[in-house]
């Protein structure tokens, strides 16, 4: 059974701090690893990672994947109160055949609170 574990589950920091969120996984037929940010409702897409060692960046957020050790990290620098949210890590796994589609397996999420 596919499994995704995130740590920490909860994190409280002050504005301006840098945070690192962790995601480890076990999956058959790995296709990609995704990070989403969830505030009140819809998870919004942050990054999709498919190759080891290639950092993806978007503003103050960055992420990297290690396919050998089966983990990913999400970094947020100079945190702001607007970064307060649940950060979800998901692994996309292919079905037995390419035409059978894929599914996302999510971790429990990391609840990040940024205090002013």
């Amino acid at each position: 059974e596919d499994k995704v574990v995130q740590s920490p589950l909860s994190l409280v920091v002050h504005e301006g701090d840098t945070v690192t969120l962790n995601c480890s996984y076990e999956v058959t037929n790995f296709r990609s690893l995704l990070w989403y940010k969830q505030e009140k409702k819809a998870p919004t897409f942050l990054f999709m990672l498919t190759s080891s060692g290639i950092e993806k960046k978007s503003g103050r957020l960055s992420s990297i994947l290690d396919k050998k050790e089966l983990f990913s990290i999400l970094n947020i620098t100079a945190t702001q109160t607007g970064d307060s949210a649940i950060y979800l890590c998901a692994v996309e796994a292919l079905a037995e055949t390419e035409t059978s589609g894929s599914r996302l397996t999510f971790g429990e999420g990391t609840q990040l609170t940024v205090n002013p």
Binding site: Q6, L34, Y36, A42, P43, A95, E108
Partner: protein, 114 residues
């Protein structure tokens, strides 16, 4: 460009009843996946529809069923509701023809069972 839309936003039902949730995918997407997110948990995969057929299914009982229409919109049906079915139900859409594109999520339907 309309994103993924779901209806209704909130729903209150009692045990034993049946419910239907609806989803319209993002423009250009043809694949719809449904997820259940219990409070404090990550979303769990229910099933995926493509070309009006269920293509993959997660570990959910047969009380959970779905349908996809020719316009790619989808419904999730849950029969014989249990208290444990209370959750946020998320719909996500993607395009089978665009390899390595992420699934996009709707705002979800909050289902409460009394």
């Amino acid at each position: 460009d309309a994103g993924v839309t779901q209806s209704p936003t909130h729903l209150i039902k009692t045990r034993g009843q049946q419910v239907t949730l609806r989803c319209s995918p993002k423009s250009g997407h043809d694949t719809v996946s449904w997820y259940q997110q219990a409070l404090g948990q990550g979303p769990q995969f229910i099933f995926q529809y493509y070309e009006e057929e269920e293509r993959q299914r997660g570990n959910f009982p047969d009380r959970f069923s779905g349908h996809q229409f020719p316009n790619y919109s989808s419904e999730l049906n849950v029969n014989a509701l249990l208290l444990g079915d209370s959750a946020l139900y998320l719909c996500a859409s993607s395009s089978a023809g665009h390899y390595m594109q992420p699934q996009h999520f709707g705002d979800g339907t909050r289902l409460s069972i009394l």
